[in-house]
């Protein structure tokens, strides 16, 4: 067991990542109480095995790995669901909108409520959902996500790609159901005046990388 001061310092640093773990647990369990149980168990395990954490490495990724392993062991059984997403085609929502000349396509995304986006994420199979959580929500690099999930980087990339396709499909279905777009992909609402500046505030400049 670590010295009390060292343990306190470790705990304090670990708690700086609490929101990330809680968000992840919430999206994995779909239940606030279960999420708190999972996170608490993960922190206790992290404290127990703090000697295995290498200073200077990514503590957030280390903690998330502990939590998701617990999730699979305790909540889902040790056998991971081998759920593969159907191939829904490339860029479903984007292509549907684009084919019908609805521009700019990204405007549709701004009309979809955040709760519906969360719902679409929640509908993803867990193995795909956790990649979206790590890369898109928490900003993990592919390398850190691969280490956290104990899979090759190529698996992270393929799961992420499939997950984004599925997200587009779910969001398109919602956009049709809620009348944001018609089933043929056209935007609802007043026609745009293409001669004037767009009110789209998304990036037109490609960022320097």
């Amino acid at each position: 067991m670590a010295e009390p001061a060292a343990q306190t310092a470790f705990a304090e640093e670990a708690l700086t990542h609490l929101d990330t773990l809680y968000r992840g647990a919430l999206r994995l369990t779909h239940d606030p109480d279960a999420a708190q149980d999972l996170v608490q168990e993960a922190y206790l395990r992290a404290l127990r095995y703090q000697h295995s954490y290498q200073q200077g490495t990514n503590m957030k990724a280390w903690l998330f790995a502990i939590m998701r392993n617990l999730f699979w062991d305790r909540f889902k059984g040790s056998r991971k669901e081998d759920v593969s997403l159907d191939d829904v085609g490339e860029f479903v929502l984007y292509d549907k909108l684009r084919d019908e000349g609805a521009r700019p396509e990204a405007d549709v995304l701004d009309k979809i409520a955040a709760s519906e986006v969360v719902s679409a994420v929640d509908k993803l199979p867990p193995l795909h959902r956790e990649v979206v959580l790590l890369v898109d929500v928490e900003g993990f690099s592919y390398k850190d996500a691969a280490q956290t999930l104990a899979v090759p980087i190529g698996t992270v990339m393929s799961r992420l790609h499939r997950a984004r396709q599925q997200l587009q499909k779910s969001l398109f279905d919602y956009a049709v159901e809620s009348g944001i777009v018609r089933p043929d992909g056209m935007n609802e609402g007043p026609p745009r005046n293409h001669g004037e500046a767009s009110d789209f505030v998304g990036p037109r400049q490609v960022p320097q990388q």
């Binding site: 343990q7 306190t8 705990a11 670990a14 708690l15 609490l18 929101d19 773990l21 809680y22 968000r23 919430l26 999206r27 708190q36 996170v39 608490q40 922190y43 206790l44 404290l47 490339e90 860029f91 984007y94 684009r98 521009r103 700019p104 396509e105 990204a106 995304l109 701004d110 979809i112 955040a114 709760s115 986006v117 969360v118 994420v121 979206v132 959580l133 890369v135 898109d136 929500v137 900003g139 690099s141 592919y142 990339m157 992420l160 790609h161 984004r164 997200l167 587009q168 998304g202 990036p203 037109r204 490609v206 320097q208 990388q209």
Partner: protein, 72 residues
């Protein structure tokens, strides 16, 4: 660069995972190809919408305090 190659690299470009050289090649293609630029805009926007939508949950204060006590 052809549009097909740009499309193949779009996920990694949006996720800032390409090498500097690859990113520059994609960037140059996007600046000269309105179709791919719109495609990029959409993917970038989708990523931001997902983050913004899922980012708002934070751990309850009481839970944070409970954990702090348990861990100390």
């Amino acid at each position: 660069m052809r549009c097909e190659e740009c499309s193949d690299k779009l996920d990694r470009f949006v996720d800032r995972e390409l090498t500097n050289t690859e990113a520059l090649e994609v960037q140059l293609h996007l600046e000269g190809c309105p179709d791919c630029m719109e495609h990029y805009d959409f993917q970038e926007h989708l990523k931001r919408v997902v983050k913004r939508s899922c980012d708002c949950d934070v751990a309850p204060t009481a839970f944070r305090e409970k954990l702090r006590q348990i861990l100390s």
